[in-house]
């Protein structure tokens, strides 16, 4: 097994006016390839901050973060954009699809920014939409889709660039429990297909289905169970 994520003594401090608000405190953790990890913790525990740093949306105040043996700390905005584009797939609680844009185009979007030709990326996007069971919905816009379908479009978008890491931030938070389970099943099967998934959740029963649970409290890792 190769190491995908190596965090060493990561601190994150927000400065609000003159007050320094610590969000992460000396976080050190490692995630291997093809792991299925849940991050749990009460609100304000630093889950989102950790996810943002893992997803290269944010950078640590201090400490080092290696993603796929590459130190992300010293990268500039363009390089971080490239990493988000090619190495990471996001799945958000609120889906975050572009409104007034078809499912197909939403899934194509990461490929547009990686510069793939129109024909190739349509092909690829349709393949991925088929994998999440939406081949009959490709020309529908988000407001014409159910919540579960929207989240599956978002998953297809996260998968389309064949990322090394999928970050899902409470992917079932806005869904009823039945469709939530469907999404979790898809996550499960993605893991079986060899993807690395890190999932933030409040639900103990969802976390139980993963291989590893990391518990955060007040910016500190409280527990790390297999």
């Amino acid at each position: 097994m190769t190491m995908l994520i190596e965090m060493n003594n990561v601190y994150k401090t927000y400065v609000l006016g003159e007050v320094k608000v610590p969000a992460l405190h000396a976080i050190s953790l490692e995630v291997e390839d093809n792991e299925y990890v849940a991050i749990m913790g009460p609100s304000g525990s630093g889950k989102s901050t950790l996810m943002n740093i893992m997803g290269c949306l944010d950078t640590p105040t201090s400490g080092s973060y290696n993603l796929g043996r590459k130190d992300v700390g010293g990268l500039n905005d363009n390089q971080l954009s490239d990493i988000r584009n090619t190495k990471i797939g996001f799945v958000f609680q609120t889906f975050n699809l572009l409104p007034r844009t078809t499912a197909l185009h939403n899934v194509e979007l990461p490929l547009i920014y990686s510069g793939m030709s129109s024909f190739k990326r349509k092909q690829l996007a349709m393949d991925v939409l088929e994998r999440v069971g939406l081949s009959d919905r490709i020309m529908h816009k988000p407001n014409e889709l159910s919540g579960g379908e929207r989240q599956r479009v978002a998953i297809a978008r996260a998968l389309v660039n064949k990322p090394s890491l999928i970050l899902a931030d409470e992917p079932t938070g806005n869904l009823d429990s039945k469709t939530g389970e469907e999404i979790i099943e898809i996550m499960q099967s993605l893991c079986e297909q060899g993807n690395t998934i890190i999932l933030v959740t409040h639900e103990e029963y969802i976390a139980k289905q993963t291989n590893r649970i990391i518990r955060l409290r007040d910016g500190i890792i409280e527990g790390d169970e297999n």
């Binding site: 363009n78 584009n85 572009l98 547009i112």
Partner: protein, 399 residues
């Protein structure tokens, strides 16, 4: 590649807010349309003045009565001091003046059947045709014989013809001028608009005008043709000598007449025209700038509205450059479409309302296009920078 995507995205985003897009486009369209319209109008006026300048020739002087001044003090306006005999004397005495044409112009009313039209009546001699290079497009000028016999014949200017006869041929018809019966023998071509519309005029023999219509023994002007334009100083000297002696002016009195070269007069008109045109263009440009501000305003609103979209795009890998070009292209497209609408609108307006037709100079269509493109770019620059520099995490959470 990305540019093509951007254009598609921009068009889609413009479709999303049709009314807002339409209003913004109108701002640009009206601005560029106004500029284009003024430019075209200016160019057409210039063309007509130039045509007139060419037809006049540079060797004709215009002598008109003027003020009498005594030691710098204007004493009285004398409009009756130019006589036909003086015109003849200038021609026979001067070595450099080859031809003089006397004219008497007054107001009059022309009637044909139930139509009547108030216009200028100009009495002159047959040489008027030669000196002004103004040949009838139909019929003929009156002859020396008709001049001597005080014949009641007339030639119509284009405007008078249109007002009285419409499209019908006037030749041989009989009209009333100041209630006296005249036969139309000729029709003059249109010379285009000017300060005094030269087409709104009727020409009759000078003798007929002076004796039969107005009972005047003086002239309102004399046209004098020089051998060449180089003879100006000598011609002026001859005219002044003859007229001052005839008018018994003392050496300390100013001329009671004015001498002007027609082409110089028109050149002044042309320069004034250019100045006025430039001034109006500046005003029109202001409205174009207002249109540009409209684009900037809409882009700022768009960027704020789509904060979350920007966050999503950035999260899945769009670079700042991609976001910048996306919004910049949108503003440019607003500018370009507005420009096209403005150009087409201006052509339409010309076609239907001004009768100028569709002949907009191609180079100006090109300039308009570039101007609109530039205005769109400038207006979009700041909003696009704002969009590109949004914090990704905040943008993703924006509601």
């Amino acid at each position: 590649m990305i540019i093509l995507e951007n254009i598609q995205m921009a068009l889609q985003s413009l479709k999303t807010n049709p009314l807002r897009s339409a209003l913004t486009l109108t701002g640009i369209a009206v601005g560029i349309g106004a500029v284009l319209y003024v430019v075209i109008l200016g160019e057409i006026t210039q063309q007509r003045i130039n045509e007139r300048l060419e037809s006049l020739g540079s060797n004709v002087l215009l002598i008109r009565p003027g003020y009498s001044r005594l030691r710098g003090v204007r004493t009285a306006a004398i409009y009756t001091n130019l006589k036909w005999d003086e015109a003849k004397e200038i021609k026979t005495t001067s070595n450099v003046i080859t031809l003089t044409v006397p004219t008497y112009t007054d107001q009059g009313v022309a009637e044909f059947k139930d139509q009547n039209w108030s216009t200028r009546i100009t009495g002159t001699t047959p040489e008027y045709e030669t000196i002004n290079n103004d040949h009838p497009i139909e019929g003929r000028f009156f002859s020396e014989d008709e001049l001597n016999r005080k014949s009641r014949v007339c030639l119509l200017g284009a405007t008078v013809h249109e007002k009285l006869f419409g499209n019908l041929s006037p030749i041989g018809e009989s009209i009333l001028i100041n209630s006296k019966r005249f036969t139309v023998i000729g029709l003059l071509g249109s010379k285009g608009e000017s300060w005094h519309n030269p087409d709104n005029q009727i020409f009759i023999p000078l003798t007929t005008a002076q004796e039969r219509l107005y009972g005047a023994d003086y002239l309102t002007s004399i046209l004098a043709q020089m051998r060449s334009a180089d003879d100006y100083d000598e011609s002026l000297f001859d005219i002044e000598t003859i007229l001052r002696r005839n008018h018994r002016l003392r050496p300390d009195q100013d001329n009671d007449f004015r001498v002007r070269r027609q082409d110089l007069y028109l050149s002044t008109v042309r320069e004034t025209n250019i100045e006025i045109a430039n001034f109006i263009i500046i005003i029109a440009l202001v409205s174009l700038i207002v249109g540009g501000i409209g684009v900037a305003n809409v882009m700022l609103v768009t960027v704020t509205e789509r904060t979350r979209e920007i966050g999503i795009r950035r999260a899945i890998g769009a670079k700042k450059f991609h976001i910048l070009t996306q919004f910049l292209v949108e503003a440019m497209i607003l500018g370009i479409i507005g420009g096209i609408l403005g150009i087409v609108g201006c052509m339409g307006f010309n076609y239907f309302f001004t009768g100028i037709g569709l002949n907009i100079p191609l180079d100006w269509i090109g300039y308009s296009f570039i101007i609109c493109f530039g205005i769109g770019s400038i207006a979009g620059l700041y909003p696009a920078f704002q969009a590109a520099n949004k914090n990704v995490i905040d943008a993703l959470r924006y509601e």
